[in-house]
Structure formats: structure tokens, C-alpha cells
């Protein structure tokens, strides 16, 4: 067996966190010997091997040490203990950009960057056009980089890193920026690298990406490695750490922030807000519980095709007739996945007076990985009056341990028909 492409041997990294940053001599003299600091352990005895040709994803919440680990592998930071051995040319894409000089043009920066990565002038000349084409910067290549937009900056960085023929590619969150078309292009390139047997180590917030392209997932939590396992398992462990530390899934935060930023751009949210604002609260939703096998085990996710029950408690301030209870399920982008109500389901609704409860029993949830948002509504049967509207306030998560991709768990059997096999056999004679 060939030696591993990356060997991380018992690596620890500490930082001194100063509460005040003193960087002038005067300040250092005044505070000499009593500059308060905390010893922060960013990485604690990490031991990982990455075989040549494999793709390994590092998951972890903010501050878990995942970027620090990547920087150590890249040789930008040095560990306090332990050592890291990398074999072959290494290209790293850390956070935004790849270390361009703002005063230089795109062309000059390409030469600069590629030569740091160890390419000779002739090598660079031969890949130069490819880099420019990949970054889609033909028109701007002789412009100073400081005039570039952040998207152009990132595209150029990625283009250089993937076109310098690296044996090892380190990627930090880069796949989550840039427009969708470019992201797809990057992902395609990453997949081509995988086919070509190159080694990829990347840090991401997106559990879905780990499942889609990684052979292995590593989970870091407060500088400790708590999992080094199959991608599906790693994602589950990651979700558990998030819950333990009371942090929300960053993907949800991102979606919420995006929805917030989009404002009127997300029609459904606007609609929901309008409906919620027009609610009379004559009949109010008092409490909502979502139950599935996962909640019994104490976590928020369920497996695809498991059953789920949503109970909605309500209270009517005065006897109310002519009611309609509705439910809708959306994905993270706010796309409607499913919606029904008591009228569609043809269920008789009792007159509401005081407290009541309506239960939605789902025999199974045929969804794949993701976080799903639940909207609940109480309206009049003609939907003219909104009594209460809870817009995407509740959520559940589905965790897919397998590597199937997409949104819906479609039952599928794969087989080869016998006649084909005969033909193959027959062709020999």
C-alpha cells in the first residue's frame, strides 16, 4: 500500500487569546508580564490519515478547529505539537481568495500564485488560458485585482488552485460561495479530481456536501476529533454535537439569513407574513408538538420513511363554527413540498369552544436529508378569515444514513434484464 497522502500525527495547536491586543512597544512595556490571556486549545491531539485518492470532509461548528486544522495541513500555521506530512503538490483554497495582491493585475497574480505553488514559468504559460477561461475573467485579466468583485476574486482563486495540477487539494468553505453556475462548475471539477485519483480534504458547513462527495467524514468539536467515519455517520454525529451545545444547524441559520436578506424576493414568506399579520386570534394555536421515533430517543431527526405525528393544540376565545385547519411542509429554500387541510382531507371539524387539539398523523415521511419547516393555519372554511397562522415556525430534520441524493425517498429496485446478459455471453462465440 502506498503511504498516505496526508498524515496528521498527534497534532495540537494552542493559541493565546489576549483580551486586549497590545502591539506597540509602549503598550507592551506598560503591561509587561501581566498581559491577561487565556490559553485556547484549538486542536487537541488530532490523528488522521488521508489515503491517496480519497476525499475527506471535515465537519464542525464555528470554533471547532476545522479551519485551523486545514491551515496546519496547508503549512500556514504550525502546530505546537505533532507533525503533518503531506506528499505531493498541495494547493489550498482558504476562506476568501487565495492570497492575491490587490495592486497587481489578475494576470500578474496568476503568475505569482502559481509560482508560489511551485510551477515554473513554462508550466504557468501552458495552463494560463485554462485558468482564465475557468474563472471566466477573459475581459478583466489585465485589471488590478483590487477592482474585482468578491465573486471574481473567488473564481480566480479557485481557478488557479485547480489548474496547477495539485496532488492534494485543500478547500475551506469555498464551495458555498459564488453563484450557482460557478458552484456547479467547481463541484464538477472536484469530482473530476476524484476520478483522477487526487486527494481532497475539505471543510464545510454543508452536511449534504459531505454525503454527496466524501469517502469519509471527520467531525471536530472544540478541538477534539469525535468522529472519523462514513459520511452519513459523521453527519449524524455532527448534528448531535450541534444539539448538545444548543446550536442551531448552521444551514438553517444561513437559510433564515438569506430569507431575511431576500425580503420581498421570497414570495412565500411575504405571503406567510401577510397571513400571520391578518390573524384575528379568535382561535389561537397554543402549542405544537412534533413526534417521531427520533424524538423518543432525544434527538430532532428521523430516518427516511419513518412515521411522524404533529399535534396542534388550540384555544377558542368564544364558540366558533366553520373552521378549517391547514398544514404545509416546506424545504429550506421555502419551496412547498406538501400541503393539506381539513377540507381537502374531508374531515368534519367540531365547533371550537375552549381548548382543543388536532392531530396530523403521517404514516411515513418519504423525505431524504434536510431540515423541513412546518406552517400551520386556522382559517374559516372559505379561507376568507385567518384566525391564526404560524408561518414556518416549527421544523423537523431527516437524516439519511445512505448516500442516495435528492429530496424524496423514491422506492427503487435496480436490476439487469437477463436477455442483455445473454447477448454479452453470446458475443464471444
Amino acid at each position: 500500500m502506498s503511504p498516505a497522502a496526508i498524515e496528521i500525527r498527534h497534532v495540537s495547536k494552542h493559541f493565546r487569546l489576549y483580551h486586549e491586543h497590545y502591539s506597540s512597544l509602549k503598550e507592551r512595556m506598560i503591561h509587561f508580564g501581566r498581559i491577561p490571556f487565556e490559553d485556547f486549545i484549538a486542536l487537541d491531539d488530532i490523528d488522521v490519515e488521508v489515503e491517496e485518492g480519497s476525499t475527506v470532509g471535515i465537519l464542525g461548528h464555528n470554533g471547532s478547529g476545522k479551519s485551523t486544522l486545514l491551515k496546519c495541513v496547508a503549512g500556514i500555521l504550525q502546530p505546537n505539537q505533532g507533525e503533518i506530512v503531506t506528499r505531493g503538490r498541495l494547493a489550498a483554497l482558504l476562506e476568501l481568495g487565495a492570497g492575491f495582491h490587490p495592486e497587481l493585475t489578475g494576470r500578474e497574480n496568476i503568475f505569482m500564485n502559481a509560482s508560489i505553488l511551485g510551477l515554473s514559468k513554462r508550466d504557468i504559460n501552458s495552463v494560463f488560458d485554462e485558468i482564465v477561461a475557468f474563472a471566466e475573467l477573459e475581459k478583466f485579466i489585465d485589471m488590478q485585482v483590487r477592482h474585482y468583485s468578491s465573486g471574481m476574486y473567488i473564481r480566480l482563486g479557485f481557478a488557479v488552485a485547480v489548474n496547477v495540477d495539485p496532488d492534494i487539494l485543500l478547500v475551506d468553505e469555498v464551495l458555498s460561495v459564488g453563484d450557482e453556475a460557478f458552484q456547479r462548475k467547481c463541484l464538477e471539477r472536484v469530482k473530476r479530481f476524484q476520478r483522477e485519483g487526487r486527494t481532497i480534504l475539505f471543510v464545510t458547513h454543508a452536511p449534504d456536501l459531505i454525503r454527496r462527495i466524501c469517502d469519509r467524514g471527520i467531525v471536530l468539536d472544540h478541538g477534539e476529533m469525535i468522529a472519523d467515519t462514513l459520511p452519513g455517520e459523521a453527519v449524524r454525529t455532527f448534528r448531535e454535537t450541534l444539539q448538545r451545545s444548543g446550536l442551531a444547524d448552521p444551514t438553517i441559520e444561513a437559510v433564515e439569513a438569506a430569507a431575511e436578506a431576500a425580503g420581498s424576493g421570497a414570495p412565500h414568506t411575504t405571503h406567510g407574513r401577510k397571513m400571520a399579520a391578518s390573524a384575528t386570534h379568535k382561535v389561537k394555536i397554543t402549542n405544537v408538538t412534533i413526534e417521531h421515533p427520533g424524538t423518543l430517543d432525544g434527538h430532532t431527526w428521523l430516518l427516511p420513511n419513518e412515521a411522524m405525528t404533529i399535534r396542534v393544540g388550540y384555544r377558542a376565545s368564544e364558540p366558533t363554527d366553520d373552521l378549517l385547519f391547514g398544514i404545509a411542509i416546506h424545504d429550506q429554500e421555502g419551496n412547498s413540498i406538501f400541503g393539506t387541510n381539513t377540507k381537502i382531507a374531508d374531515v368534519a371539524v367540531p365547533v371550537a369552544d375552549g381548548d382543543g387539539q388536532v392531530t396530523f398523523d403521517f404514516e411515513h415521511i418519504p423525505l431524504l436529508d434536510g431540515t423541513y419547516l412546518v406552517t400551520l393555519a386556522i382559517q374559516s372554511t372559505d379561507e376568507g378569515t385567518v384566525y391564526d397562522w404560524s408561518d414556518q415556525q416549527y421544523q423537523f430534520e431527516v437524516m439519511n444514513p445512505a448516500r442516495t441524493a435528492g429530496l424524496v425517498a423514491l422506492p427503487v429496485q435496480v436490476r439487469f434484464d437477463m436477455p442483455y446478459a445473454h447477448r454479452v455471453e453470446g458475443s464471444g462465440s
Binding site: 507592551r28 491551515k71 507533525e83 503533518i84 503538490r89 498541495l90 509560482s115 488590478q144
Partner: protein
Amino acid sequence: MRDARVVRSRTSVIERFRRIVAYRELLVGMTRKELKIKYKNSILGFAWSLLNPLLYLVVFYVAFVKILGSGVPEFPIFLLSGLLVWNLFSTALGAATSSVVANAGLVKKVSFPREILPLAAVGSMLVHFFLQSMVLFAVIAILLRPVAWEYLALLPLALVALLLLTGALGILLSATNVYLRDTQHFVELALLAWFWVTPIVYGYMTIGRRSGWFAKAYMLNPVTPIVLIFQRTIYAKLDNTRVPVGAVGREILPHWPMTGYLAYLGYSFVFGAVMLAVAIAVFGRSEANFAEEL
């Protein structure tokens, strides 16, 4: 088998030195980048680097010859032969000191021996030095002024000693500057003092003929031997013949044989080499957290 690279907390000075040498091609590229950036948005470009010593020349000529009445004959040639050396030293040291901080974007994103940054700063100043020297040599050629040909071979040696010294100090100060940002200002002041204890605007023998602790301490300046060799070669006048023998101001440069100048230059080499080892060791220890400090 692909070559393996090891990242660990401590690497020996020799190992670090070897890495710097392995990246020499990058050093050339970085030097070119430094020059490009410097003149990116200026119309006069390289002309500035020629203007600078001329301006100095005018100022010092007025101050020393017209006001103080310095008796050094052919003062402009004398001044320039030492001033060019000093300019290389001081501008390179200033640029090297701020080099790591100035290239923070690179340091935080890409891995390479960071010593390349101060060295590239020195390299770009070396290019300026050659340009400025051309002016001096052109003047000498036009005036058909004799130089000490036999000493010409010492010039490259002296230049190497100067680069060694500047590179070493530059590496050391660039690391210090990451943690103590006022190193830059400190260096400016120190260079001002250093200039006056180097025989550039006055002849070495002004101090050299004296005895006592000051004259001895004065000789410890590692830039002095380098300046002396440049003056001995290009200026080549040992005495001011208009002043009587034995009187103050008669001797300008020391009456040493070539071996004397060489031996004194040896001191600069030893000083520079020791400094380089110290600098790389210090740099190596502090480099671990550059990316975090910047």
C-alpha cells in the same frame, strides 16, 4: 515517490535555510512583484530611484562643503561612493522590516518560507542600487576619473557582505514587526543614528586616527568595512593633498594594504553570518503564529 513535506513546530535553522534556497525562483518572482507594485501608479517610475541620491547629494554638498567647509576634495564622488551603499542598506532594511506585515494577505493564505518576503524586499532594493550605481559610473567615465582598478574585485565581495548583513537584519526585524508594530518607527530612528556613525559624509580617518574607547567601538560597525571598500575603490584618494602631512584632515581613508581592507571585511561577513543564523532561528520560532497575528 512524491516528495514529502513535513509541517511541525520546530525546524532546524539548516532545514529552514535549505527551504529558502529551494524557493530561490520564488524569490526572483517576489522581487519583481515588489518592483512592479512600487511603481504601479507613478509616472516617473524608476526615475525616482535616480532622483533620490541626487537630491541627497545636493543637500549634503551644501551642508558640508558650503556651510561646514569640509575639506574632502571631489566631495560628490566621495559622498556618492559611500551613500549608494548606505542607501541600499537603509532602504532595504526599512522595506524588509514591514515586508511580512505588508504581505499579510499572502502570509495568511499560502505556504512558502516566509523569509522570502524580507529577502525580496532586499532584492528589489538591490535593483535600485544597480541603477543608481550606473549614474555614478557614468559620471566617473565622463570625467575620466581614475579608480583603484586593483580593488575592483573587492566590490562584489563587499556587496555580498552587505546583502548578507541586510538580509539577516531584515529577516529578524520583519518577524519582530509582526508582534511589535512600532519596530518600523524604531528602525527609522536607529538608521538615522547608524548613518552618522558610518563614514559616509566624513572620512574614516576623522575617527580612525584617534585612540580611546569611542574609536574602538566605532570600528565595530559592520557597515563601515563595506563603505570603506567602496570608497577605496571608487574614490581612491587616501589623502587630502592640500593639507600638510600630520595635520587634521590630511588623511581621509586608512593607509592599509588590500589585506587590511579584506580582513576588516571578514568581520562584516562573520557578523552577517552569525546574525543570519540568529535571525532565521528567531523567525522560525515566531513564524508559527504569523497567520493569527496579522
